[in-house]
């Protein structure tokens, strides 16, 4: 079995090398008008067979369940969607608990509700000029189709993301080192590669694959708008780094604490491969494991972010082992201006991430649950409800904010603040070309006649 790349949206398969991204959120008007929009946008949607050298813009479109309903999609197609997609994001399962900054009532800066989001158009381009040109075109198509653009900020700006250069994120870490190695072609699949059926819908035979034939070559995406509190992060490093590692110069101590939180030095070097200092010759290496090289967490703490979301060969509890470690395709780009120092400037900054998968319940919710509570492996103390050191919500009921850093001289620990909070989430379907075609021409009404 070989995937027809002409039928799969490009962002599923490729990480575009385009430094400027805009996410436009829309609400459809009537079903017929919405279908007109999809029909007119379809020829411009970037499919996975388009080379990276193709001219701007690269356009992809995700549609929510509410959006599919608004398009009056045929019931047979809606019936093939998973219940977790139909239900939409469940904040508690994402760790966005009530009473916290991440609570759903605060999403989208309270300007609209997630249920109002019907579709998201992603524009990946090389320049600001290309972004404005592409935006004007998509907005014109939307206006002609009677759609409403949802503006998620009170200052009227939309969700623009931009590379900070050298694949850096706001906390200074290098992104994009570890990605699932997916076999898109059964015949050329090599040992260790992941079956494309983990991500693409509509293929029978895989343990988790959906039989949904009308959705074939589509996939789900969790669109997440995450604020990063850089000032708090930098202040934490400056205060706690030298306290935890007094034998090091303050700047080195800060770097080591940053590495302990992530499990990699900020240049990308794995703590397992190089526990004492970053090593540029190893910064892109991903060939390491925990069970043999770091069974006690002396190098990479058990709650370091990369060890939580990808425990590799670390032993799992029976229930987690039965489910297997979930993998998602990550597509993300930072937004907002960089911040140096520990004084907040009040500007919005963080990352806009798209987590692509074939099973939102297993691949997204399992990971977010593991981040909020590290209880999936015998390495974690059953009497402490510890969390992902970087990305968990400390307000989750019962959460233990202590970050334990094992070492040869015994464990030290530090109280973790919130480094991030959620500003918005939507679950979208990235339909294939053929499904988009179907959506643009077929409604529930027409399919019953």
């Amino acid at each position: 079995m070989r995937i027809d790349m002409d039928n799969v949206q490009g962002l599923v398969v490729s990480m575009y090398r385009r430094p400027v991204v805009r996410h436009l959120l829309f609400r459809f008007g009537g079903g017929a008008d919405g279908r007109t929009f999809v029909r007119r946008l379809l020829p411009e949607v970037t499919m996975a067979d388009v080379p990276d050298t193709a001219p701007d813009p690269f356009i992809n479109v995700g549609i929510t369940y509410r959006g599919l309903k608004a398009l009056d999609a045929e019931s047979a197609l809606l019936g093939e969607l998973s219940s977790s997609f139909r239900k939409g994001p469940e904040p508690r399962k994402l760790g966005d608990v009530a009473g916290s900054q991440s609570a759903a009532e605060n999403w989208w800066e309270r300007r609209f509700r997630t249920e109002d989001v019907h579709c998201i158009v992603h524009l990946h381009v090389l320049s600001d000029e290309a972004r404005e040109t592409a935006s004007a075109h998509v907005r014109e198509l939307a206006r002609e189709a009677g759609m409403t653009e949802l503006v998620p900020r009170s200052d009227g700006t939309v969700l623009d993301a931009r590379s900070l250069g050298e694949r850096k994120l706001h906390f200074g870490y290098t992104d994009g080192i570890s990605h699932p190695d997916i076999a898109w072609d059964d015949e050329s699949r090599t040992p260790g590669q992941i079956d494309f059926r983990e991500f693409l819908l509509g293929y029978g035979g895989g343990a988790r694959s959906s039989q949904a034939s009308r959705l074939r070559d589509g996939t789900y995406g969790a669109f997440r708008w995450i604020y990063q509190d850089v000032a708090t992060f930098n202040r934490f490093l400056q205060t706690e780094g030298p306290r935890l590692f007094p034998d090091r110069a303050p700047a080195d101590a800060e770097e080591l604490l940053a590495a302990k939180l992530m499990g990699r030095w900020r240049d990308g070097t794995s703590l397992v491969l190089s526990p004492d200092r970053p090593d540029a010759s190893m910064s892109h290496r991903n060939d390491f494991a925990y069970e043999h090289d770091d069974p006690n967490g002396h190098r990479c703490p058990f709650s370091a972010h990369v060890r939580v979301v990808n425990p590799r060969d670390q032993p799992l509890d029976a229930v987690a082992a039965a489910s297997q470690v979930p993998q998602v395709i990550r597509r993300g780009m930072p937004y907002g201006p960089p911040l140096e120092g520990a004084e907040d400037d009040g500007r919005d900054r963080g990352i806009i991430g798209i987590f692509v998968c074939g099973d939102l319940r297993h691949q997204v919710y399992t990971l977010t649950r593991w981040m909020q509570r590290n209880d999936f492996s015998p390495v974690y103390d059953p009497n402490r409800r510890v969390q992902d050191a970087l990305l968990a919500n400390r307000t989750v009921p019962g959460a233990d904010p202590q970050f334990k850093i094992p070492g040869n001289g015994g464990a030290t620990s530090v109280t973790l603040p919130d480094f991030v909070h959620t500003k918005g989430t939507a679950f979208v379907l990235y339909p294939s070309r053929s499904t988009l075609q179907r959506l643009s021409t077929t409604s529930a009404r027409s399919s019953t006649h």
């Binding site: 998973s82 694959s209 039965a322 489910s323 297993h362």
Partner: protein, 163 residues
């Protein structure tokens, strides 16, 4: 806090299926209870579990699997599909309207099917899990692991040791 599962399976009413149900009930303690006990103990997340048949006019109408467990229902369901697939295959063969086991025996299909057969308790969840209803816990939100950090011997293991 623990999550309750009230899996309520409508049973086929034809004589052959009812006879198979009687056979399953009669052999439960000898052939099914052991594997279930072993799987439940191994999971380290299940507080309590029991299986019962609701009869009406001496006919089995529903089979119920009632459990209280920690964590995520999807992971829980997947664990038992893998650990106890043959047992569930046997049970669902008696269920009215159930798809063939070959169709049910995938992560997604098994979860969706069993989720749809879960009866919501009356009342409102105090667990913020608003679609499962009220569940009282006398141990607060303590998990099995917190209550019993080392695996406890099951009743069956204790009985075997005593023998």
């Amino acid at each position: 806090m623990a999550v309750a599962l009230n899996l309520t399976i409508p049973l086929k009413q034809d004589p052959q299926s009812q006879a198979a149900l009687k056979q399953l009930a009669a052999s439960f303690s000898k052939t099914i209870q052991g594997p279930i006990d072993k799987a439940l103990a191994g999971s380290r997340i299940v507080h309590f579990a029991r299986v019962l048949v609701i009869e009406e006019n001496q006919r089995g109408r529903y089979l119920q699997v009632l459990t209280e467990f920690d964590g995520d229902p999807e992971e829980y369901t997947e664990f038992f599909r893998k650990e106890l697939g043959p047992v569930f295959g046997h049970i669902f063969a008696l269920a009215e309207g159930a798809p063939p086991w070959e169709e049910l025996n995938t992560r997604e299909a098994f979860f969706e099917y069993t989720h749809n057969l879960n009866l919501k308790s009356l009342g409102t969840s105090t667990n913020l899990d608003d679609d499962r209803g009220y569940l009282f816990s006398g141990v607060g939100d303590k998990t099995v692991r917190e209550l019993c950090p080392e695996p406890c011997p099951t009743d069956i293991e204790r009985l075997a040791d005593a023998a």
